[in-house]
Every structure is written in C-alpha cells, then in structure tokens.
C-alpha cells in the first residue's frame, strides 16, 4: 500500500479490505447487509484465516510434538510458527508465549500458578511468587470479570487482600487512586483498554507505580491488541494476555505472554500429557516453560488460523489500523452525541480511547435498543459486557455497545446512527 504508514485507509483500500471478509455480504433480518459493530465481543474473519484453518485440516493435520511422520512435522511446525508469529506481533520472544484456550484461561493460569506457589508448589524457584495474608493484589474497577474474578478467588484462597484503582467520572482510571498500589502489593492486574468505555489505561503511570513497590504487572490486551501496535517489552509489563478471536483469528485459542524468567519459576496449573519430562508412579518432573503450561492436546488448527490473522493485521499495518479506527471513533462519538437522550458511558472525546462505545438510551432497555437496531440489520452488543462493577459505577444495570474493526466503513457508522435515532421514537410512538 502506497499511503503513509500511519494514515487511515483510502476508500479503495477499505473496499479491498472489506472484500476479504465473506460475512460482510450476509444479509440480516431486515434484508440489508449486516453492519457488524460488535468486534469488541468477537471479530469477523478474513478469507485467509478461514482458509488457513481449513487448509490445516485438509493438508497437515496431526498431533504435535510427537510422531516422526511428515504430517506430525508439519503440524508441529505450524504450532511453533504460530508461537513465533504471535511473539513477533507483540514484541516478545517465542518461548515466552503459552497457548491457552482463551484470554480468560491465560489470566486464570497466572492466578492459579501463584496460588499453587503459595502452597509451596514449584519449590524454591517459585518462592518469590508466594502471597498470603499481609500481601495485596490490585486491579481496577474497569475490568472485565475475567480480570477480576480470578483475583477475588486468589485473594480468598491465600488471604492476600484485594484492592483496586478507581475511576474518574468518565470511566477513565483515576491516577489519583494509584495509592491503592501500596508497598505490600505483589501483583497489579489491569486492562490496556476497557471493553465498555474504550478508554486506554495510563499504562506508564501504573507500571511505574507497580515497579516502585516491586509488584508484578499483568496487562489484559484483549481490547487493544487488534486495534493498535503492541509491544509488551516497551510497555514494561510482566504478563500480557490476548485472545485469537478478537484479533480476526478463530475461536478456541488464547495466549499468555510472560517474561521468560517468570514463566520458568511458575508451577504448572493444568497437568497431564505433553507437559512432563519424566513420570513415575510416585511423581513427575515437568518440561520447561512454555510447554509446562500446555497439557493435553492443543488448538493447533486455530493457531494456524490465528497466525494467518496476525499476517493479515501486519499486512494492513497496525499504525494504519489505529489511524483508521480513530476516524471511525470520532464519527461514532459525534453521531451519538447528536442523538437526543443517549448517554455515552465513557470518554466523550476520541483522545486516548478506541472505538468501543457503550451507551444508555433514556427510557429504553438495552435489549430493546439492540432489537430495534437488529431490525435495521445493525449488530451491536447489549448487556453488562462482563463488567458489572463498571456498570454499577455508571449507575446502570446494562448498556448497549457499538465497536469498530479495521473493516468497519463510515457508511456503517452512519447507518447505526440513523437507526439509533429511531429507537426512542419507536417506543414513544406506541
């Protein structure tokens, strides 16, 4: 592509991108092509991803890391190529990538491993990870339940206290509350971008504060990794989690990135086949990381698809994706701002936020909002988006949410706004 590396897509480029996504030709209940504004829940897949997954089954399918036949070699290659591709995409090293079935499992892996270390598992190497009464785990009020509940459970199991950073009125993490990261804090887990407000977290501030007290940092990149360039090393965190299906890849695969020395110190969580060195009836020794954390059969075909997705995103250029989505976000926010009776739950301007926009329509339940939009073939998310505490903060039970992706067109945003205008009159008119 000839445009600058940080420019939004030209109209012709966008048309070409859209042609890569077969689902965009699907028509909805109203008979029009579906305007898919729910990428934050799950992204749609380009043809290359769909083909890569199917081709893996057509050409190479076999068990990985065993067998000496051609197909076994090809499958293992695809599996490990995926690890290298993801590492390259996020600025880590291949041996720092652990495959999981989703990002939720990746977060739980860290929480459970720390819990096991706290019970003495992992021996002396894992001793620095042990937590207990008198220690603190810190998260934020803006988290997806996946980055809150595992820490509640770890807190309950170990006696470590759970605390959280609080929010400014527009839902951004409030730097004034960084004091929650006290000297006894051992781990800080927070989201890079909120899946409700779209706000980008002040990573630098939080990491610096965590570092100053010697706490580990886990970053949830589920909402950022397909929408902006990510470099886990530059971000200065210890763990990062991501999800294939939110990055144009297949469902069923996620990953934990962990600093090499850390993964090495962590005791395993899921145990069984593929993760052992040697087994006797009395006990076992384990593989080094990352294999130590990959017990049982793995989502190899999904990883082949995810690899194709990372290639696709890299081909678009993540700086260009960010620039494109910034324009869409501004259009989305401007449009919503003009609709009477609609309140955005999150920052009203497009600075330091991405195109995830949750909103409440006065007097209309989010389910009913979503239903009217669906009748116009516009797909948005409704519900609490797995963030009940954040909705409670905004004093609502649930919300409607529109979110954009690299292939979202300005026309789709305009269709959404036009449909949103119809919502209140539809229910008032009856």
């Amino acid at each position: 592509m000839s445009a600058p590396a940080s420019a939004a897509f030209t109209a012709a480029e966008l048309d070409a991108i859209r042609a890569d996504f077969p689902i965009l030709s699907r028509r909805g209940r109203g008979g029009a092509p579906i305007a898919y504004l729910d990428a934050s829940a799950t992204s749609q897949k380009p043809e290359s991803v769909i083909s890569a997954e199917a081709d893996f089954y057509r050409r190479s399918n076999a068990a990985v890391h065993r067998g000496t036949h051609l197909l076994g070699d090809e499958s293992t290659q695809a599996f490990e190529d995926g690890r290298a591709a993801l590492a390259g995409f996020i600025g880590g090293r291949p041996e720092e990538i652990v495959w999981t079935k989703n990002a939720t499992e990746a977060i739980n892996l860290v929480a459970l491993s720390i819990g096991h270390a706290s019970l003495g598992r992992g021996g002396a190497a894992a001793a620095p990870l042990r937590i207990g009464p008198g220690d603190r785990i810190v998260t934020t009020r803006a988290e997806h339940h996946a980055n809150l509940v595992p820490w509640q459970e770890l807190s309950a199991r170990t006696g470590a206290e759970l605390a959280w950073l609080d929010l400014q009125p527009d839902g951004r993490i409030d730097p004034e509350t960084l004091g929650a990261i006290t000297p006894n804090t051992r781990l800080v887990a927070f989201t890079h971008v909120s899946n409700v407000t779209g706000a980008v977290s002040p990573v630098d501030l939080i990491v610096a504060k965590a570092r100053s007290v010697g706490a580990l940092v886990l970053l949830d990149t589920c909402q950022s990794s397909a929408h902006m360039p990510i470099d886990v090393t530059a971000l200065g965190v210890d763990f990062a989690v991501m999800s294939s299906h939110k990055m144009l890849g297949p469902t069923g695969a996620g990953a934990l990135w962990g600093r090499r020395g850390l993964l090495e110190a962590m005791p395993p969580v899921l145990t069984g086949g593929s993760m052992i060195e040697h087994v006797t009836m009395e006990g076992s020794t384990y593989m080094p990381a990352p294999e130590r954390f990959e017990a049982g059969s793995q989502p190899v075909a999904q990883i082949a698809g995810w690899t194709a997705a990372l290639d696709y995103l890299s081909g678009l250029g993540m700086e260009r994706v960010r620039a494109q989505e910034e324009e869409l976000t501004a259009r989305l926010l401007d449009g919503i701002g003009d609709v009477e009776g609609v309140r955005v739950l999150g920052p009203a301007d497009s600075a330091d936020r991405i195109g995830v926009v949750a909103f409440a329509v006065e007097g209309v339940h989010p389910h009913d909002v979503g239903q009217v939009l669906d009748a116009d073939d516009i797909a948005i998310r409704v519900g609490h988006h797995c963030a009940i505490p954040l909705h409670a903060f905004f004093d609502v039970r649930s919300s409607a949410r529109a979110s954009v992706a690299p292939m979202t067109s300005p026309e789709e945003i305009d269709r959404f706004i036009a449909s949103l205008r119809r919502v209140r009159s539809f229910f008032k008119g009856h």
């Binding site: 339940h365 989010p366 009913d368 009748a375 519900g383 909705h391 039970r397």
Partner: protein, 156 residues
C-alpha cells in the same frame, strides 16, 4: 407486520407499561429471585397460597426490558384469573412449549392457555430474548417449588 412490530405488539408494550402485579413483597408465603445473566436484569416474585394450594396472590418486584416486564405483567393477570395449581401448571407448560418453538407455530389450544402472554410467541424466534420472556415464569416455578408445589413436572 415486520418481525420488530410482531415482537413489540401493542399488547406487549401496554403490559410493559402497566406492570400488573408489581409491588412490595410483604407477607408472601415464598419468593424466588431470578437473574438474567446476560443483562443483569432481576426479578423477585412472591406468592401466597390458599389451603388448597391455589395461588391467592402473586406479586413481583424487578427491573428489565419491555419483554420481561410485559411477560411478568401477563403472568400476574393470568394467575389472578386462573390461580389453581392445575391451571397454572398447564399455562406454565404451554409457555415453555411456545417459547421453545422458535416461532414455528404452536397449536391454537396451547396459545389459548396463555391469555395475553400468547402475544409473546414471536419472541421465541430471537434466541437471546427467550430468557427475558421466561424470567418471571421461572421465578413462579421456583417459588412454588419451595412450597412443595411442582408446576413444571420436575418430579414427574
């Protein structure tokens, strides 16, 4: 009639506004709290029974979308008119059958058991709205189960 107009028929929007049976749960014999996990909507529904087991009072307190509120209102009216265990059981069975029909049609005699709630038939084509319509009915089943009355054939 578009599927949207079918879903939000006037009778449904009227019930969502009227909220028959909504009130404070004082003095009930048993109650049940139900949550729709996808949206966080909640309802607490309570019942009072006569010595023969029939429902003499149904009251509910909750928040939700127009479908869940209308369904609760319709259920309240229905129980007020036909509160015997037998009739409520038949209506409950009809409601489950209709809501799981994917709007492919249910026999007229099934719809006849449901009063105004028959208008919710088209909701059954929207997989993610079925729970909205059934939330209050599940609460009723659960509240009655606490009093030893099974309207769902669970212990058949």
């Amino acid at each position: 009639m578009s599927s949207l107009e079918q879903l939000y028929q006037q009778v449904i929007l009227d019930h969502a506004k009227a909220r028959h049976g909504a009130g404070a749960l004082e003095g009930v014999d048993a109650s049940s709290h139900q949550v729709n996990p996808t949206c966080g909507d909640e309802v607490t529904l309570g019942v009072e029974l006569a010595p023969d087991g029939s429902i003499t009072r149904l009251v509910w307190d909750g928040e939700g979308c127009s479908i869940s509120q209308a369904s609760l209102s319709m259920l309240s009216e229905l129980v007020e008119e036909r509160g015997s265990v037998e009739e409520v059981s038949r209506a409950y069975g009809a409601m489950e059958q209709m809501m799981h029909s994917r709007n492919r049609g249910v026999p007229e005699e099934v719809l006849d058991l449901l009063g105004d709630a028959a208008a919710l038939e088209s909701t059954s084509q929207f997989a993610n709205r079925v729970k909205c319509a059934l939330l209050g009915w599940y609460a009723l089943r659960d509240a009655l189960a606490k009093l030893g009355t099974d309207i769902a054939g669970d212990r058949a």
